[in-house]
Amino acid sequence: MDELIIGGRSLSSRFLLGTGKFKSKQELQEVIRRSGTEVVTVALRRIDLAQNEDNIVCYIPENVVLLANTSGARDAKEAVRIARMSRETGLGNWVKIEIMTDSKYLLPDNQETIKATEILASEGFVVLPYISPDLYVARALVKAGAAAVMPLGSLIGSNQGLRTRTLIEVLINEIDEVPIIVDAGIGRPSHAAEAMEIGAGAVLVNTAVATAEHPAQMAEAFAKAVIAGRLAWNAGAGDESSVARASSPLTGFLHE
């Protein structure tokens, strides 16, 4: 069985879904269903007491893991605070660490992310840190107890696909203790398939689904792309073909 293991939990879908930017909670509910996802990200926000909205959690099936992100945090301390508050809801201890001071590109602060991971992993959280792909940072995160490493494919919301492909491949080659989950920038199902084909453990997609004309259908497209990419990875590179040659310039001397 080719299951994805995160924080000791076995998942059969390698498609993680972000829940931001959807038109309505009803639409989100349908999208979750068509995506087959088993992990969705959520953010923690102050309630507007004037409005009486039902909670998003009601639209997420019970068997789907809530991955609370720390968006809004500008340093490790704030991220830790948000994570602890998220856990206090009693709805789980999975946290996606997202720490940014850069509002122009929304690039994550790798160093603060390592610090937050150290603290939260030691407090028993299942930590999924979001980073700019960097091998030393990834190693430090694994050492700190992260349950996965989430390198960005390209800038958040840019839909540009795997601009950081080479660096992601380095992480996939060198980090085998935890899954590498490509997050951010996946704009099309083909990007998701590409990420899976090169050996990523999973992908996280939000904008591309939420801003599609038909989000539920796009969710299904992504789900299929992720499956296809994974199948391709498991099928392995094709047979090295032995091209017939008239001469063997390098090893011919062995027969002389």
């Binding site: 060198e174 090295e240 032995s242 091209v243 063997s248 310039p249 390098l250 090893t251 001397f253």
Partner: protein, 327 residues
């Protein structure tokens, strides 16, 4: 079929082309040159296949500091800047103190110093690293745990695990480069090659900052030894070396003067990045005349350094004598 099995089954010319492509990509056409300097042939072990065995009635000698100095001057005078200091494995005759003294002397002549001596503890390696040793070579000889003790009945070398963990201890001590090898011919070469690759991969994973290099010594038949080789054919050796290059794209691949000139000239362009040149494999041998006591280590390629350098340049390669030095 696993990836490794596929590599062992693959067409040899195909393998060679990929190995060459990777070597060009990561090393260009640079070939590092080094030379061995034997300081002592005293040995406490009794390896069944070796002419230096404590049971062999050969003349034992060990260089004095003055002789080491003379040898270093002669060798470095020829142009060599990367020296491999070797001793037989003897904690009595070439203990840490003797080695440190040799390193102090060698440092005056060579920016790069590696050693191939008896396996030691991490603490001793730390001392050697601090003294200026940047490389360590140790061959496991055979990776077969059942065969190993029968071939090494005497001396500290009898301990398989201790020897196997030598690269890890050296890495922990902060050594910069480590050389691996199995003595091909003691056992069937396929399992030996696989175990060798597993050993290298293990150290590569645990100590990502260390430079790795792999040698492929082939056992030659020697008179009087109790063990005669299971011969490894030239084609098999080329195959093993190609696979090593493909598996470890940044590791040094070494070809020593044990192999004859014809073999070396055809093989080095495929995947080799380090060549020993003009080697003396007797004790000393650069300042003093060479007296060959034992065929096991006798060089087959007897070209001078100048000849090798010229051959490399003519063939379009870049002979490199040193590529870094401690400041």
């Amino acid at each position: 079929m696993s990836r490794l099995d596929a590599l062992f089954e693959r067409d040899l010319e195909d393998l060679a082309r990929e190995a060459q492509r990777l070597t060009r990509q990561y090393f260009g056409r640079a070939i590092s040159l080094f030379a061995p300097l034997y300081l002592s042939n005293y040995c406490e072990n009794g390896c069944l296949y070796c002419g230096f065995s404590s049971r062999m009635p050969i003349q034992r000698e060990k260089l004095t500091p003055e002789q080491i100095d003379a040898e270093c001057k002669a060798l470095s005078g020829s142009g060599i800047q990367n020296v491999l200091l070797l001793t037989g494995e003897s904690r009595v005759h070439s203990p840490l103190g003797y080695l440190l003294q040799a390193v102090e002397i060698a440092k005056r002549c060579f920016p790069n110093i590696a050693i191939e001596v008896q396996p030691m503890d991490t603490a001793d390696y730390k001392t050697l690293v601090a003294a200026g040793v940047d490389g360590l070579t140790v061959f496991q000889e055979t990776y077969d745990e059942a065969l190993y003790p029968t071939l090494h009945p005497l001396g500290h070398k009898h301990d398989y695990r201790y020897r196997y963990n030598t690269p890890a201890r050296a890495a922990e001590a902060g050594i910069r480069r480590i050389g691996f090898g199995a003595l091909l011919g003691l056992n069937d070469w396929r399992p030996e090659a696989e175990a060798l690759f597993a050993h290298v991969a293990n150290i590569e994973k645990r100590f990502p900052g260390v430079d790795l290099a792999i040698s492929f010594p082939r056992l030659l038949p020697i008179s009087g030894a109790a063990v005669q080789p299971k011969p490894v054919g030239d084609g098999d050796l080329v195959r093993i070396m190609c696979i090593a290059r493909i598996l470890f794209s940044r590791a040094g691949i070494i070809l020593s003067t044990r192999e004859n000139a014809r073999f070396r000239d055809h093989v080095f362009p495929i995947m080799v990045t380090q060549l020993s040149a003009a080697s003396a494999t007797t004790v000393g041998g650069y300042a003093r005349p060479r007296v060959n006591h034992d065929e096991q280590f006798a060089p087959s390629d007897e070209r001078s350094l100048a000849e090798i350098k010229e051959m490399l340049i003519t063939q379009g390669y870049d002979p490199v004598f040193t590529d870094w030095r401690r400041l």
